[in-house]
C-alpha cells in the first residue's frame, strides 16, 4: 500500500511539474526571485565602476594608504599637501570670518576627505571600499527583510495557493478527484511538486545573489572568504531559503484549500510574520520567520554600528538553536499539512461558487 502511495505521489509530482514551473500565472514568481539577483548585480557593477574611477584618480594623484593615514587633525593645509600631494578634488568656500576647505584623496580603494577650517585640519572622513564582512551584513539584512519576508513569501503564495485553487479556477481539479487516489496523497504530491519548484527557483536565486554580490571582490578575497567559513554561509543561506519554502509552502497550500481568496490569508500571515518581533516567546514559535531567523548565518548581535531598525529585522530576539529551529519548523509544517490534508479529504467540487 505504501509503495502504491509513493508511486502515486511521484506521478502527481510529475503531472504538477509543468504547471508549477511553466504556468503563466507563475511568471511573477520568477520576477520575484530574479529581482534581488539584479539588485546585487547592479550593486557589484556600481562598486566595480567606482573602484575603477578611484584607481584612475589614484593614478593621476598617486598617494599611499600609509601616507594618508599619517595625516593628523590640527595639521595645516600646506603641510598636508606637502605630505600627500595635491588632492583629486578640492572645494573651498567662505563664510564671514571663516574659510572652509575640503580636500579629497584616494589610495585606489578608500576615499579620504580632509575638512579644513581656516587652513587647519578639523576633521577626517574615510569612506572605505566594500569588504566581504561589510557586504555580508548588508546581504543578511536584504535576505531576511526583502528576500525571505517578501520574495519567497509571495512566491510561495503564488505557487502553493494555485496548486488546488488554480485548478478550481481552471475547472480541472475534478480529474484528480475522480482517480483512485487518496485525497491526502494528492495533497502531499501537490505540496512536494510546489516545494520542488519553489526550492529550485528560490535556492537558485539565493546562490545567484551571492554570486552577483561577489563579482566586485577580487579572486583572493573570495578564496579567503570561502576558506574561512564562506561555504558554510552559502550552504546556510540556501538551506534557509529551502526551509522558507517548506514552511510557507505548507501554509499556503492549506490557505488555497481553506480560502477562496488567497489574498486574505496571505495578508494575515504577512502581518503575523511581520509582528513576530513584538510577540511573546510562546507565540513567536507559531511563525516561520522565527525559525528562519534562528537558522540564518548572520552574526548575532550584529554590528554595533547597524541602525536600530535594521538590527531589529535581522536578529531574532531569542533565537532557537539550529536543531530546535529545524525541529520547530518541521513540526509547524507537518501540523499545517495535516490540516490541509484533512481539508483535501473533504474537498467538494462546486466550481460555480469557487
Amino acid at each position: 500500500m505504501i509503495g502504491q502511495w509513493l508511486s502515486q505521489i511521484g506521478l502527481v509530482i510529475r503531472l504538477e511539474m509543468g504547471k508549477t514551473f511553466f504556468s503563466r500565472r507563475g511568471l511573477w514568481v520568477y520576477l520575484l526571485a530574479l529581482a534581488p539577483v539584479l539588485i546585487w548585480l547592479a550593486h557589484s557593477m556600481i562598486e566595480l565602476n567606482q573602484r575603477q574611477e578611484r584607481q584612475a584618480l589614484n593614478a593621476a594623484h598617486p598617494v599611499s594608504t600609509a601616507a594618508l593615514r599619517s595625516i593628523q587633525r590640527g595639521m595645516i593645509i600646506d603641510d598636508v599637501v606637502k605630505q600627500v600631494g595635491e588632492p583629486f578634488a578640492k572645494r573651498e568656500f567662505r563664510r564671514p570670518n571663516i574659510n572652509f576647505a575640503m580636500y579629497q584623496y584616494t589610495d585606489g580603494d578608500n576615499v579620504f576627505s580632509f575638512q579644513f577650517q581656516d587652513d587647519r585640519l578639523m576633521n577626517i572622513g574615510e569612506r572605505d571600499r566594500d569588504t566581504i564582512p561589510k557586504d555580508s551584513l548588508v546581504f543578511a539584512s536584504v535576505f531576511q527583510f526583502f528576500f525571505l519576508r517578501l520574495a519567497v513569501f509571495f512566491g510561495c503564495v503564488g505557487v502553493f495557493t494555485n496548486l488546488f485553487r488554480g485548478e478550481m479556477l481552471d475547472k480541472s481539479l475534478h480529474f484528480y478527484l475522480l482517480t483512485p487516489i487518496r485525497r491526502e496523497i494528492l495533497a502531499v504530491g501537490k505540496y512536494l511538486a510546489g516545494l520542488i519548484a519553489t526550492v529550485v527557483i528560490f535556492c537558485t536565486s539565493t546562490f545567484l545573489q551571492l554570486a552577483a554580490l561577489s563579482l566586485h571582490f577580487t579572486g583572493s578575497e573570495i578564496s579567503d572568504y570561502l576558506a574561512g567559513g564562506g561555504w558554510g554561509h552559502v550552504a546556510s543561506y540556501v538551506g534557509v531559503t529551502a526551509a522558507a519554502c517548506l514552511g510557507y509552502g505548507s501554509i499556503f497550500l492549506a490557505a488555497g484549500l481553506l480560502f477562496k481568496n488567497p489574498i486574505i490569508p496571505a495578508a494575515t500571515v504577512l502581518v503575523w510574520e511581520g509582528a513576530n518581533i513584538f510577540l511573546p516567546a510562546a507565540l513567536k514559535k507559531v511563525s516561520v520567520i522565527f525559525y528562519l531567523q534562528s537558522l540564518s548565518p548572520v552574526v548575532a548581535p550584529p554590528d554595533a554600528n547597524m541602525p536600530a531598525l535594521q538590527k531589529l529585522l535581522v536578529t531574532a530576539a531569542e533565537p532557537a538553536t539550529p536543531a530546535v529551529a529545524v525541529l520547530g519548523l518541521l513540526t509547524l509544517t507537518i501540523l499545517v499539512l495535516a490540516v490541509a490534508a484533512r481539508k483535501a479529504r473533504k474537498l467538494e467540487i462546486n466550481y460555480s461558487t469557487d
Binding site: 502504491q4 502527481v12 504556468s23 482517480t179 483512485p180 467538494e348
Partner: protein, 312 residues
C-alpha cells in the same frame, strides 16, 4: 445488493438552496437515464454518487463502496462530468494516460490501454494533438475515452451526447449498450428525451431536487393512473371500432383520425383494454396496428414535470 447503486434518504443542500432531497434509489445494472429540467438535481445526484459532493443527510453505496473512499470507488467507477475544461497543454493521449497511471498501471499497460480507449471513441488520429485544438465533439469523446479507459463497472456520464454529430452519437450509444449488455451500470443524464427513450433500460425523473418517478419506462407509465393510457389503433372500420371500444367502462375518450383509418383511445386500464381489443379483433374488425401513444419518456416528462414547469 452489491451490484446496485443505493441511495438511502439522501439530501444535499447548498446553503439554503436545495440540490436533491430525500432521494432513495436502488439502481440495477443497465442504462439508467436521469431526466429532468435544468436545476432539477441531475448533476448533483451524479456528483453525490461519485463523491464530488457529499450528502448533507443520508448514505450512498456504489456496488457496496462508499463514495468517500475514492481509492476503492474509482477502480470500479468512472465519471465524465459536464465540465468542458481540461488540464492545460495536454494532448488527448497524455490526458487519458496521465490519469490512468494514477490507478497503478505500469507504463506499458497504460500506453496500450490508453490507445485502446481512444480507439474505442474513434479519436485515434487526433490522439497526439493538443486538446485545446479539439472540437466540442472531440472533447466529449476524449472525456468518454478517459472514463472508459480503466474498464469501469459503473460509468456515470453527464450529458455525454452533447455536441456529438449523428454518426458519433450512434456509435456512442452503441458503446453504452455494449457496456450495459456486460452487466455494467451506465448512468447518463440527458435533455434529449427521444434518445433517452431509445437507449434507457430505466429512467429516474427528477424535478426540483426530488425524484418524481423511477424504474422502467412502461412500469412508471402504468402507475400513473391519473393520466389515462393512450393507444393508437389503425384499422379498416374505425367508426365501428370506436363505438365498440367506447362501450368499455375503463375507456374515457375515443378520437377518430381525420382520415377515418384509425383512432386514439384513452383508457384507465391498459390490460383490460388490450384483452377487450383481442375479442373485438376476433369479431372481424380489421385491425392493422396497435401502439401505445404515451408510453415513452417524453410523455412521462410531460405528465410528471411539464405541468410543474408550466405552472412555475
Amino acid at each position: 445488493m452489491n451490484d446496485r447503486i443505493v441511495l438511502d434518504n439522501v439530501s444535499r443542500f447548498y446553503g439554503e438552496v436545495l440540490g436533491v432531497n430525500r432521494v432513495t434509489l436502488s439502481v440495477p445494472p443497465g442504462i439508467t437515464s436521469l431526466v429532468g429540467p435544468n436545476g432539477s438535481g441531475k448533476t448533483t445526484l451524479m456528483n453525490l454518487i461519485t463523491g464530488l459532493v457529499r450528502p448533507t443527510r443520508g448514505s450512498i453505496q456504489v456496488l457496496g463502496i462508499s463514495p468517500s473512499d475514492p481509492e476503492k470507488l474509482f477502480r470500479v467507477c468512472a465519471y465524465a462530468t459536464q465540465f468542458d475544461s481540461f488540464p492545460r497543454g495536454m494532448t488527448g493521449f497524455q490526458f487519458v494516460y496521465s490519469y490512468l497511471r494514477l490507478s497503478g498501471m505500469s507504463h506499458d499497460d497504460c500506453q496500450r490501454t490508453t490507445a485502446f480507449a481512444i480507439g474505442r471513441v474513434n479519436l485515434g488520429e487526433a490522439a497526439h494533438r493538443k486538446i485545446a485544438g479539439y472540437s466540442k465533439g472531440m472533447r466529449q469523446r476524449i472525456k468518454l475515452a478517459q472514463a472508459i479507459a480503466h474498464d469501469p463497472r459503473v460509468l456515470v456520464l453527464d450529458e455525454p451526447l452533447n455536441g456529438l454529430d449523428p454518426l458519433v452519437r450512434a456509435e456512442t450509444i452503441a458503446l453504452f449498450r455494449e457496456f450495459a449488455a456486460q452487466g455494467r451500470h451506465v448512468i447518463v443524464s440527458s435533455h434529449i428525451l427521444h434518445e433517452v427513450d431509445t437507449i434507457s433500460d430505466q429512467v429516474i425523473l427528477l424535478s426540483n431536487g426530488y425524484v418524481v418517478a423511477e424504474g422502467q419506462i412502461r412500469g412508471v407509465r402504468e402507475e400513473m393512473s391519473e393520466h389515462p393510457m393512450q393507444v393508437i389503433i389503425r384499422c379498416t372500420r374505425a367508426n365501428v371500432l370506436a363505438s365498440r371500444v367506447f362501450e368499455q367502462d375503463h375507456v374515457v375518450e375515443v378520437r377518430l383520425h381525420a382520415d377515418g383509418g384509425g383512432l386514439l383511445v384513452k383508457t384507465r386500464d391498459a390490460d383490460r383494454f388490450y384483452r377487450a381489443l383481442n375479442h373485438l379483433a376476433l369479431d372481424g374488425v380489421g385491425i392493422e396496428s396497435v401502439a401505445p401513444a404515451d408510453d415513452n419518456v417524453n410523455s412521462l416528462y410531460e405528465y410528471l414535470i411539464g405541468g410543474e414547469e408550466s405552472t412555475r
